[in-house]
C-alpha cells in the first residue's frame, strides 16, 4: 500500500484534504475494497477513542445498507443543479440578504412600470399631469387635448417580449431570489409567473433542499 495514498485517506477522513485531491481519492475509495476496509477501521478507531458505548464495532450495518440499496436505482442529479454552492461560490454576508430582496423588489417594480407604459402608449399626457385645482384642470384639458381625428386608429400594442425578454427576467428573478426571504421569494416568483403566464416557462431547478426531508426533520413529535 502506498503510504502517501494512506496519508491522503486519513486526511480525507478528517475532511482535511484539498478538494482537488478529494475528487480523485473519492473515485478510488468507492471502488477499492482495501481502502474501504481502512476507512472503516478509521471510523471504528474514532468510535473506540470516543468510547461510544452500546455501539457494536463489528456491526454489519454497512453491509445491510449496501444490500438494501443495491436493488434500488442509482440516484442521478440533473446537470444544471449538480455543482455545489458550498465550494463554487463565495458565501454571501447575511447583512446583504435584505438588500438583495429590496433590489429584486425595485427591479420588478421598474419592469412593471416599463411594461405598463409600453402596454398603453396612446394614453393622453393630461392623465399623467398633476391636478392642483379644477380651473387648472379645465385649462390643462383645453390645452392638452388635441383636436380629435376624423377617424379612430387602433393603437398598436408592442409585443411583450420586446419589453423585457422573459428568460432574461426569469433568470434575474431566480438568481436574486436566493438572497431574499422565503416569503418575498414566493411573492416575487408568483407575481412574475402571473405576469408572464403564457410567455415564459417556470424557472427550472430549485435551491431549496428536499422539502420532504426538511419537513420530515422539522416536524415536532
Amino acid at each position: 500500500m502506498n503510504e502517501e495514498l494512506d496519508s491522503q485517506l486519513s486526511a480525507m477522513f478528517d475532511n482535511e484534504l484539498p478538494a482537488a485531491e478529494c475528487e480523485l481519492l473519492a473515485r478510488r475509495l468507492s471502488r477499492d475494497e482495501d481502502l474501504k476496509a481502512r476507512w472503516s477501521a478509521y471510523a471504528a478507531i474514532g468510535a473506540t477513542i470516543r468510547a461510544e458505548g452500546g455501539v457494536r464495532l463489528n456491526s454489519n450495518l454497512a453491509v445491510r445498507v449496501n444490500n438494501a440499496i443495491s436493488s434500488e436505482p442509482a440516484v442521478a442529479v440533473a446537470k444544471s443543479i449538480e455543482p455545489s454552492r458550498a465550494t463554487s461560490r463565495r458565501p454571501v454576508p447575511r447583512w446583504l440578504m435584505p438588500l438583495g430582496g429590496i433590489a429584486v423588489a425595485a427591479s420588478v417594480a421598474a419592469a412593471s412600470i416599463l411594461f405598463l407604459r409600453y402596454e398603453s402608449p396612446m394614453q393622453p399626457v393630461a392623465q399623467s399631469l398633476p391636478v392642483t385645482s379644477s380651473s387648472n384642470q379645465t385649462l390643462v384639458a383645453k390645452n392638452a387635448v388635441p383636436a380629435a381625428p376624423d377617424s379612430y386608429t387602433v393603437p398598436k400594442t408592442l409585443p411583450r417580449r420586446s419589453i423585457v425578454p422573459s428568460t432574461q427576467l426569469a433568470n434575474y428573478v431566480v438568481a436574486h431570489s436566493e438572497f431574499s426571504s422565503p416569503v418575498n421569494r414566493r411573492n416575487l416568483l408568483s407575481a412574475f409567473m402571473a405576469s408572464e403566464s403564457g410567455t415564459a416557462g417556470a424557472p427550472s431547478g430549485s435551491d431549496e433542499p428536499n422539502e420532504d426531508v426538511i419537513d420530515d426533520a422539522k416536524s415536532p413529535h
Partner: protein
C-alpha cells in the same frame, strides 16, 4: 479547508450514480449515527435498524441534497426524525401478550426475542470488547506525540490547524502524526483480527 469537502466529493459521486461512494459514507458515519439514535432507543439492535432506515432515506433523498449544509448535519436531521417516528409508532402499536400459543404467534415471539438479543450475542459482545481492548492497548503503546495528535483529533474534535497550534508544529506534521497513529492501531487490529476491522463487519 472547507469543513465538508471530502464528504461532498463522495456525495457528488453518489449523485452521479456511484453507489460505492455511498458505502464509504455509511462506513464513516455508522457508529456516530447508531450512537445518536441510541438517545431515543435503548436497544442496540433497534438502533441499528433505525440507522439503516435513516441511511436508506438519505440515499433516496440525495438527489435533492445541494451541499448548503454539511452532509452529516443533513444526515443527522434525517436520523433524528426517523428515530422519533419509530418511537412514536412503536408506542402506538398495541402490546401483544403471548396468550395465544398458535404457531404464528409463537414464531413471531421467537423472532422478536431473537432480534432483541441479536446485538447481545456472546460472540458479538466479545468481539466488540476485544476490538476495544486492542485499540486502547495500541493507543497506549503509541509515542506521546502520535497519541496526543490522535486524541486531540478524535476525542476533542480539533481541526488540524488547531492541533498544530496546540502542539506547536506545522499542519503537515499533524497530518502525518494522525496518519501514523491510525496506521499503528490498524496494524495492531490486523494482527489480532484477520483482515482488520473492515473484514470483521461480515461477522456481525
Amino acid at each position: 479547508m472547507s469543513a465538508d469537502v471530502s464528504d461532498l466529493s463522495l456525495v457528488r459521486r453518489v449523485q452521479g450514480g456511484d453507489k460505492g461512494a455511498f458505502d464509504a459514507l455509511v462506513r464513516k458515519y455508522q457508529h456516530k449515527l447508531v450512537k445518536l439514535v441510541m438517545r431515543y432507543v435503548r436497544n442496540p439492535a433497534e438502533a441499528e435498524d433505525i440507522a439503516q432506515e435513516a441511511f436508506i432515506k438519505a440515499y433516496r433523498a440525495l438527489p435533492q441534497f445541494r451541499g448548503d449544509s454539511a452532509f452529516y448535519t443533513w444526515l443527522y436531521r434525517i436520523a433524528i426524525n426517523t428515530a422519533k417516528n419509530a418511537v412514536v409508532s412503536r408506542d402506538r402499536s398495541p402490546i401483544e401478550y403471548n396468550i395465544d400459543r398458535s404457531s404464528d404467534a409463537a414464531e413471531e415471539s421467537y423472532d422478536m426475542q431473537g432480534r432483541m438479543k441479536d446485538s447481545e450475542t456472546p460472540e458479538g459482545l466479545v468481539l466488540t470488547d476485544e476490538i476495544r481492548r486492542t485499540v486502547n492497548a495500541a493507543i497506549e503503546a503509541l509515542p506521546e506525540d502520535l497519541k496526543t495528535a490522535i486524541v486531540l483529533r478524535e476525542l476533542d474534535g480539533l481541526s488540524y490547524e488547531e492541533i498544530a497550534a496546540a502542539m506547536d508544529c506545522p499542519v503537515g506534521t499533524v497530518r502525518s502524526r494522525i496518519f501514523r497513529a491510525r496506521e499503528a492501531i490498524d496494524r495492531r487490529l490486523r494482527e489480532v483480527f484477520e483482515g482488520g476491522l473492515g473484514r470483521t463487519e461480515d461477522m456481525g
